[in-house]
Amino acid sequence: MAVDDRFAEDFRETRDEEYIGTRNEVITGPVADWATDFSHVEPEWSADPYPIQDDLRQRCPIAHTNRFGGAWLPTRYEDVAAIAYDTERFSSRSIIMSNFRPPRDLAPVGTAPPISSDPPFHHDARKLLLPAFTKAVVTRQEPATRAFCDSLIDGFEGRDVVDAAADYAQHIPIRVIADMLGFPPEDGPQFREFVEDLLEGINLPPDERIERVSRLFDYLLAQVHDHLDRPRDDLTTYLINAELYGQKLAPDVVTGAMALLLIAGIDTTWSAIGASLWHLAKTPGDRERLIAEPELLPTALEEFLRAYAPVTMARLVKQDMHWHGVDMKAEDWILLSFPAANRDPAQFDRAGEVVIDRAVNRHAAFGLGIHRCVGSHLARMELRVALEAWLSRIPRFTLADPATVTWSAGQIRGPRTLPLRIR
């Protein structure tokens, strides 16, 4: 059998070319006016972005900032949807807004296909992943996920206060995605570092950011080599062997897709589980109702996803244009806030309230259009199982101290410290 030489050391040199992009001055510090100077990494936004978004929706509704080299923030559902659907004028070449824009010729593949890909490549790359993430396939992970949640709760024995973000929510998606990719479960703490580097370290100096991102790809390459030596039934071996257009995938497509599955699966689901438990801890009426009516959980879960949607994406404007009342320039960022869309009163009744029996809920937590979250069925399974396991074992819980709750900064928002009193 021929040796698979796609992943020889020199393939990293082609990756390095991706770092020849455009950098801009890093601007941090308090926001003067959210309409003209917004920043989603400042503490005020992390602590509570909803009043800011609601205010902007009424008075802008598309905010601008000169930070990040120029960016726009639409806040109405209608505008967010229009951008999500318009892949002709808005590129996904980079979906995490930072002070670095990868070179334009990286499109249509991008750094983490298919989330970073544009048509026509996007469709073909996505087709490779979809069969691994159908509802039927992810349902097979449910018993192991439930057993793992139970084991975490077993570990709370004898404690009155636990951190539901750090001791519970965080571990669930890390374990599930490590199993799917065939990575050692004990590497979990490293995954958390990768996630923080990629999603929260966006205002680091670009060279330091690049250095940190390359640590992730070093790890992934080591996993590829391990799987080349010992192929097994998991997504890593699947991607190594997968073919597109009659050929095996380019090495950077393999590692890029692995990066996507690892990073995108962790922070997001961790945030959704944490935000749901945070809501229930501070809203005894909703918590008691879910204990009394467990069949309501699937409906309540959709409402948590609407009201506390963890994921905001980014796009890059392809050409100068006048769009919905503003003058966008080529290479401007768009901060595509599904959380803001989900709280637009023009789209939802009682948009600012959490209504756990909301029967009609056309929310956009998993995106709209061709980039619908490929892991949405997995995320819903994890969220449901995590809440079922928690509520059945710990029906009564409250915030131990609201002042100690902290939230992640950046495009993925959820609790990172969540001390709950459980007895």
């Binding site: 979809l130 069969p131 929310h363 709209l368 061709i370 619908r372 949405s376 069925h377």
Partner: protein, 66 residues
Amino acid sequence: MKVQIDTERCQGHGRCYDLAPGLFGEDDEGYGTVLGDGTTPTGEQDNARLAVLNCPEHAIELLEEG
């Protein structure tokens, strides 16, 4: 009453087969499919409406028959 899916719009969110599993299923890539010819028995009509109203892509149509 009959349901049908606009396959150009469907992105595989799966709200239809979550909410009305008696009427919809998923294909090998997670896109929604109509079970049988889409004829909706009386007992399934509420679920059919829920599926229509919860599809984020507005991909499901309800054909009321005379």
